[in-house]
């Protein structure tokens, strides 16, 4: 047993889909278990933090952490695993670029708490109870992790060695990544373990995109009869494909849904949203201001569209007007 | 929308026929209008000569009053249209509005002053001349529908004066205004094309620099007469006063008899709309237009 490399899995702010994706390896999972020794996986097995603390520094070969970092506990765990691991892998969009939870960076902490605990239509909370960092009752005290102001990607908290993109990472890409890591020939630091070329490269609808085109407005996929053979952009349905790293086997496209960008940008791009904006808007048909605005109105939530998975990891990270604390 | 009527001092005295005819015509055309409560003098040219900032303050008080009267503070209704029939008032209000918009320090000082008497000025008030309202808001076509007595056979010289037209090009070209002529044409009369449409009548110079004032008015009257005008219509109480009330004196200086009826354009419109003369204040004129009776006989 002890010869097998030790591996840890941990989840932070995430939906659990990434954990699911590991289970999704199916038979592949057995191969993995054969090759490695899982020393920490709170979702599946009973380990305690103290178990990890007891390990020697750098004794874990690789820690796969998914989810972004929102609470003090997640920070603490990230730091702990960093200390104990040789390699830290950000697993999935949330850890990689912020993911869906990263969109919370549009709002202040207080806004979120108010909505979630007071205003959400499904909530009844007459006493206005809010989670507290520490609660004392009858001389005893209970603690909760602190809810931070900012949603962070993993690499904004600790140094990250590799990234496995995707929401969630496909079994194929996860397995390939594991194999690379286990092969012993480690790629250069901070590599994203997926092809460094945009999705269009592998897109089955690539040929159907015309060379000359312009956008007169954008249709919403849920209200549109989508031609299953034709490039989404050519149908004036917004698709993140051109600005998104490939490697996902075009799963969404196969399901007749446009790409939403979960694999993040290619390594040459600093800001995925800005890039797709630049590319799409350059090709609008409008010539004057009002026409342009009219077309742009057909994208009702530009921030959520361009930065669906990348807000926390984008250049600006967060609404800069929001209070610091 | 309700227009706010800002009469100014003249319309309450020498310009009474103007006020009477204006109100009558607006009533006939069913244009809602309400007098500005507790208005004060606009300051005219004289105030500008003594203290400009105070002149702006004086005029701005009216604008502020109008804004609060039309409920700008209450429901944020931006439709504050002040109708200022006297050209001098009209220009002073417009100039105030423009300059306060353009020059920050002045605006600050004036608003500060207004606040001391419990008023606020937002720059929302729009200043309109009745000619502008009739021409652009009501439209010649809908006026034409109300015409009961077309003014056939009379030749009318439109005298626009200075301050309605200059220095800002508002609703008429500064060099060759046409609105009144089109109106006259619509009423059935013949507009006269003459070059002195916008030449100065002298304003208050008739009272202060008598000779200059007389000569300016003589030029206007004699040129209109030479070109065959039956009457001159004006848009400003001071122009009307100058042109009308000094005619006998000008006649005695020059030795040439001049008898030219000088009407307000609203009086002319009123006649065409079939409003009785008395309601239009025509009985207050010094010089009678002989054909009025005949006009009433028609139709």
């Amino acid at each position: 047993m002890s010869e097998k490399p030790k591996v840890a899995f941990y989840w932070c702010a995430s939906c659990g889909g990434c954990e699911e994706s590991i289970v999704d390896l199916a038979e592949g999972l057995l191969d993995v278990i054969e090759k490695v020794d899982i020393v920490f996986w709170p979702v599946a097995m009973d380990f305690k933090t103290s178990d990890v603390e007891a390990m020697a520094d750098k004794s874990i070969f690789a820690s796969f952490i998914n989810g972004c970092i929102r609470t003090s506990e997640q920070e603490e765990m990230a730091h702990l695993l960093r200390k104990k691991s040789k390699v830290v892998v950000a697993y999935g969009s949330c850890a990689h670029t912020g993911g869906i939870p990263g969109l919370a960076n549009q709002f202040a902490r207080e806004q979120i708490l108010t909505y979630v605990y007071d205003e959400a239509p499904t909530v009844t909370n007459e006493n206005k109870v809010r989670p507290e960092v520490e609660h004392r009752m009858n001389g005893a005290s209970v603690t909760l992790p602190a809810f931070r102001n900012v949603v962070r990607t993993l690499d904004q908290v600790i140094d990250v060695d590799y990234y496995i993109p995707g929401c969630a990472p496909t079994p194929k890409i996860a397995q390939e990544a594991l194999q690379i890591l286990l092969s012993g020939e480690l790629p250069p630091n901070a590599t994203v373990l997926a092809p460094d070329i945009a999705l269009c490269d592998q897109c089955p609808r690539k040929d159907s995109k015309p060379e000359e085109f312009e956008y007169h407005g954008f249709k919403r996929p849920q209200w549109t009869d989508i031609d299953p053979e034709k490039c989404f952009l050519a149908q004036e349905i917004f698709c993140m494909g051109p600005a998104t790293r490939g490697g996902c086997e075009s799963l969404c496209i196969g399901g007749n849904m446009p790409c939403t960008g979960c694999f993040g940008p290619t390594c040459r791009v600093k800001d995925q949203g800005a890039k797709i904006l630049s590319s799409i808007c350059s090709a609008l048909s409008a010539k004057d201001k009002d026409e342009i605005e009219k077309i742009l109105d057909s994208i009702p939530d530009p921030l959520g569209t361009f930065y669906r998975y990348g807000l926390a990891g984008s250049l600006l990270r967060r609404n800069v007007k929001l209070p610091v604390s | 929308m309700k227009y706010i009527y800002y009469p100014g001092c003249s319309l309450k005295s020498t310009g009474r026929p103007y006020e009477e005819s204006l109100l009558a015509v607006f009533k006939e055309l069913q244009i809602p209008m309400e007098e500005l409560h507790d208005w004060n003098c606009c300051g005219a040219t004289s105030y500008m000569s003594v203290d400009e900032l105070k002149a702006f303050g004086l005029a701005a008080r009216n604008l502020a009053l109008a804004e609060s009267q039309n409920g700008i503070n209450g429901n944020g209704d931006p439709d504050v249209h002040i109708v200022a029939p006297c050209s001098a008032c009209y220009l002073v209000l417009i100039k105030t509005e423009r300059y306060l918009k353009e020059y920050k320090n002045e605006r600050k000082a004036v608003i500060k002053g207004l606040k001391t008497i419990g008023l606020d000025y937002n720059g929302k008030a729009v200043i309109r001349h009745p000619v502008d309202v009739l021409f652009n808001d009501i439209g010649l076509e809908s006026i034409a529908k109300h015409i009961k007595k077309p003014l056939k056979g009379i030749k009318v010289a439109s005298y626009y004066g200075c301050q309605m037209i200059r220095p800002f090009e508002l609703f008429d070209p500064v060099h060759y205004p046409v609105t009144l002529d089109l109106l006259v044409d619509k009423l059935g009369a013949t507009p006269l094309d003459w070059p002195l449409k916008t030449r100065c009548c002298g304003g208050s110079l008739t009272g202060t620099l008598h000779e200059a004032g007389m000569r300016l008015n003589y030029r206007l009257l004699s040129e209109a007469k030479k070109r065959g005008a039956d009457m001159i219509i004006t848009t400003c109480p001071l122009c009307q006063f100058n042109l009308e009330c000094y005619q006998d004196r000008i006649s005695s200086y020059t030795g040439k008899k001049i008898e030219m009826p000088i009407l307000y354009f609203t009086q002319l419109v009123g006649l065409a709309l079939g409003i009785p003369e008395k309601k239009l204040g025509i009985h207050r004129s010094f010089i009678r237009f002989p054909n009025f009776q005949a006009l009433e006989m028609e139709v």
């Binding site: 070329i197 999705l199 060379e211 | -």
Partner: protein, 667 residues
């Protein structure tokens, strides 16, 4: 950070220029050099009085050799001015010229700022940005493009004619395109030219004939440039040939058809005589028109309008030259360079209502007077007004539509002199009393002041003052029935009313109302007023920002015949220099696609204005044709996966420039 992945160790030499006091007076050059010295990668940092001087350049070269420098940054004037100077110096010292970068601390800093500390800070920021940028510079080669020796001349006025003849004489093929039925332009309408009073027709018509007969000139009248594509050396232009309804090669210009027309008298506005006479639907603009061909006016000709006519003209034409079925034709020509000489138009005096043009029949504009005094004009040179009388008193008003914020603010430059000329001609021909009303009398140039002096001595009145109004309203008896000019005689200081019979408006000149169309075809910029913008107001008044496109004559600004011809000659010489060199070197600022990174999303393809990007169906990736690419960088900014980059303006270079500019903040 002294080395980058691709470029090995970077050794930067930084040189900052005082430019005498031009930079030194506002920017603390010593301090700048001192700060930059400590930046990573900088091996040497120096300041010098005049960097562009020979010793300055030698200093750079010596330092390159001595310190083994491989990057050069010079902070001095604008790169538009001296970038090439320093690039050459860099090249001479043995390193690729594109390892050099220039920082503009004169036009962008010292000349426009007063605060010394702030200007110095700005110079440091800009220099730091350049230092960070040059890390990512790479060795590049200029690309060469061959030059097609054919030249397109647009506009057949005196400038266009002169330019075309100059080029043709040098043995180059010239296409001369003119939109009117004849060449000759405005000058053909003039009678005499100032200040020498030689007859315009006598000096112009021989040149027109020469154009017609020159084997190297292909004359395309009644034609317009419709479309232009390509780039310097390799332009393609589409010329629209409007139908004359005459077979050009058959018609001999006998003009019999004009006599035969069913209209016995002229009925339509005569463009050549600016409306002072009428012409028939079939006409020739003027007797010496070149080419000698008639034109049918489709708006006027009954046959063309209604499709039915007795066609007496066709009957009369024994050469069968009339062809009513002619259609617009489009011809494509290939040229290497272009001379634009489209001229100017005169100001429309109707825009100034108080001068009564168009209202009073005896108010004329200057061009009408040119025709009126012309011996071949509508009155045969008799000064007879529209009411049939000979004027006894004439007022000439200068600066109509010039020097006025409400119309055109510029001085039209020719009006003073032509007004003096017209005063002389009118006085001579009619014997009338002539009054000139001027604001300032501007008669610079050879012989002009002498001419003015001569006309003054002939007894023409010159009154200094801008006319406020021309009116027919008489204040006194002697003014009855006259036009009264109201003006302040500013030299005496009184306001005068001067009754005259005839008023001549010295209208200014302005860009053609459709000047924008041509301008955009050839990518020429314009100044605020709309005249075409020259590359440099002093040193390149005939060149434009578009390579291989030159301008001449009135389209560049108001000018007289002398200057127009001189400029046309200069433009032609410039085009010849380009042609005889045979090729042109172009900046290697093209975009390129890294094939490994391109996903083939085709986002870039529709964005290229020059169709330089194509899709390679074999590898399913986009490709840029380096020859067609002009280096705008639009595709680079739009590539969603950053697979495109641009030489000289790479993403890395710009990011580092931004970083360098703003580094001061994080201390």
């Amino acid at each position: 950070m002294t080395s980058t992945k691709q470029n090995g160790e970077v050794r930067i030499g930084y040189f900052v220029c005082h430019c005498g006091h031009n930079i030194g007076a506002t920017i603390d050059v010593l301090k700048v050099a001192d700060v930059i010295k400590n930046l990573p990668g900088v091996v040497i940092s120096r300041e010098y009085k005049y960097m562009c001087s020979d010793p300055g350049q030698e200093m750079i070269q010596e330092d390159i050799k001595e310190h083994n420098l491989n990057r050069i940054v010079v902070a001095a004037c604008s790169p538009l001015l001296h970038e090439n100077t320093f690039r050459r110096a860099t090249e001479k010292a043995g390193i690729n010229q594109y390892y050099f970068h220039m920082v503009n601390i004169r036009e962008n800093a010292s000349w426009v700022h007063v605060d010394k500390a702030e200007a110095t800070r700005k110079a440091i920021d800009l220099s730091r940005a350049a230092i960070q940028r040059v890390f990512f510079h790479q060795a590049l080669e200029k690309k060469q493009v061959s030059i097609n020796p054919n030249v397109l001349v647009v506009g057949g006025g005196i400038s266009g004619i002169h330019a075309a003849l100059t080029l043709a004489k040098a043995g180059k093929k010239v296409y001369l395109v003119e939109r009117d039925p004849t060449i000759g332009g405005l000058m053909a309408k003039f009678d005499k030219t100032f200040p020498t009073l030689d007859c315009a027709a006598c000096i112009l018509t021989p040149k027109m004939t020469e154009v017609k007969n020159h084997p190297n000139i292909e004359l395309m009248t009644y034609s317009e440039v419709e479309k232009v594509s390509g780039f310097v050396g390799q332009y393609k232009a589409t010329i629209k040939r409007k139908p004359r309804y005459i077979k050009e090669d058959v018609c001999v210009g006998c003009l019999d058809c004009i006599d035969a027309c069913i209209y016995k008298d002229g009925k339509y506005y005569d463009e050549f005589n600016v409306g002072l006479s009428k012409r028939k639907p079939v006409y020739i603009p003027f007797p010496q028109a070149t080419p000698q061909l008639v034109v049918f006016d489709p708006e006027a000709c009954v046959r063309l309008k209604r499709g039915k006519c007795k066609e007496t003209c066709v009957e009369k034409c024994d050469r069968d030259a009339i062809d009513f079925d002619q259609k617009e034709k489009f011809e494509e020509i290939e040229i290497g360079s272009v001379i634009v000489a489209t001229g100017f138009q005169i100001f429309d005096a109707k825009k100034i209502p108080y001068y009564g043009y168009g209202k009073y029949q005896n108010v004329y504009n200057a061009l009408e007077i040119e025709r009126l005094v012309n011996s071949s004009g509508p009155t045969g040179g008799q000064v007879v007004m529209r009411n049939g009388e000979v004027p006894k008193k004439i007022g000439i008003i200068h600066c109509v539509g010039s020097r006025d914020e409400k119309t055109n603010i510029w001085c039209s430059r020719v009006c003073c002199t032509y007004s003096v000329k017209l005063a002389h001609l009118l006085k001579e021909l009619s014997g009338a009393d002539v009054y000139n009303f001027y604001i300032d009398m501007r008669t610079p140039g050879k012989g002009q002041e002498e001419f003015y002096n001569q006309v003054m001595r002939e007894g023409v009145h010159f009154i200094r003052g801008r006319v406020a109004e021309v009116t027919d309203w008489a204040a006194e008896k002697e003014e009855q029935g006259k036009l009264i000019i109201r003006v302040e005689d500013t030299l005496i200081g009184v306001v005068r009313r001067i009754p005259v019979d005839m008023v001549v408006l010295g209208v200014g000149v302005e860009p053609h109302s459709d000047a924008d169309k041509i301008r955009r075809l050839f990518n020429i910029s314009c100044s605020t007023e709309g005249f075409y913008l020259e590359k440099h107001p002093k040193l390149a008044p005939f060149d434009t920002a578009s390579d291989g496109v030159y301008i001449a004559g009135g389209c560049q600004g108001p000018k007289d015949i002398t200057d127009a011809v001189a400029q046309a000659g200069a433009a032609a010489a410039e085009a010849l220099a380009l042609i005889d060199k045979g090729f042109i070197e172009m900046e290697p600022n093209t975009a390129f696609i890294s094939e490994d990174n391109c996903s083939g999303c085709k986002s870039c393809i529709p964005l290229c204005p020059y169709t330089a990007i194509s899709f390679d169906e074999e590898v399913f990736k986009a490709k840029i044709n380096e020859v067609l690419c002009k280096g705008c960088g639009t595709c680079v900014a739009a590539c969603p996966s950053a697979a495109i980059d641009q030489n000289l303006f790479t993403n890395d270079q710009i990011y580092n420039e931004i970083d360098g500019l703003l580094k001061y903040e994080i201390v």
